[in-house]
């Protein structure tokens, strides 16, 4: 599973993406956030602000109860600030 980070999340983690293999009981975005939070102190720091973090699965905006699959590309980011 490919995880991509943008903006301050990328800055805090010091990386823009990582390939992970979550355990079988990680079935949705919410589970994934909780699991990722345990990976390192940086991950914990990022996902402590999970209420302000948005998420996309394969370029589609989703909510935290959305199901995930092994081959998904999952992106985490703050609200958009284009224009």
């Amino acid at each position: 599973m490919k995880i991509i980070y943008f903006s301050w999340l990328k800055e805090t983690l010091g990386t823009s993406e990582e390939n992970i293999k979550p355990p079988a009981n990680i079935k949705n975005i919410d589970n994934l956030i909780k699991w990722l939070s345990t990976k390192s102190t940086k991950h914990r720091k990022v996902f402590l602000k999970s209420k302000s973090i948005r998420c996309a699965i394969n370029h589609q905006i989703v909510n935290k109860s959305s199901k995930i699959k092994n081959k998904d590309e999952i992106a985490f980011f703050p609200p958009f600030t284009g224009g």
Binding site: I4, F6, S7, W8, E11, A56, H59, A75, F77, P78, P79, F80, T81, G82, G83
Partner: protein, 146 residues
């Protein structure tokens, strides 16, 4: 037509593409990088985006506005990368039979780009980097219209 690009936008070239015989109105919006904000002078801004998703979201809005406001043509160009104060960031051009449709569509597109397309701005000041936060009023605006 949509584009996501690093280089400056050639506004007059893009505008020319909209000026065709059968239309009655063209509206242009150009977003420009500010030299300062409330917390100080900005050296440059940096725009990051999510390739593939960005193009997908802009294409969606191009299709939506073209149908809703019966546009003859629509050009949406958004830059990414390092942008200095005074440089253009975004260009939206709409062409329609009547000005009202061209205005409404143009305004809707730029409101949409602010909160629904995956771009993130960073303002680089002398000694600090500011991750620009989205504004509630911008988010509310698009919820009402879309």
């Amino acid at each position: 037509m949509i584009k996501v690009q690093k280089q400056k936008i050639n506004i007059s070239e893009e505008n020319k593409k909209l000026l065709k015989k059968k239309i009655g109105a063209v509206v242009n919006f150009i977003g420009v990088a500010r030299p300062k904000n409330s917390s100080g002078k900005i050296q440059y801004i940096e725009i990051e985006h999510y390739p593939v998703m960005t193009e997908k979201k802009i294409k969606e809005i191009e299709i939506y506005v073209t149908k809703k406001w019966k546009l003859n043509n629509c050009i949406i160009i958004h830059r990414y990368g390092k942008i200095k104060p005074g440089e253009n960031i975004v260009y939206v051009g709409t062409a329609a039979q009547h000005r009202n449709n061209a205005f409404r569509a143009c305004e809707f597109i730029i409101d949409y780009l602010k909160v629904k397309a995956p771009f993130w701005k960073i303002e680089q000041q002398k000694n600090k980097k500011i991750f620009v936060k989205s504004k509630k009023k911008d988010e509310k605006k698009i919820k009402i219209n879309y």
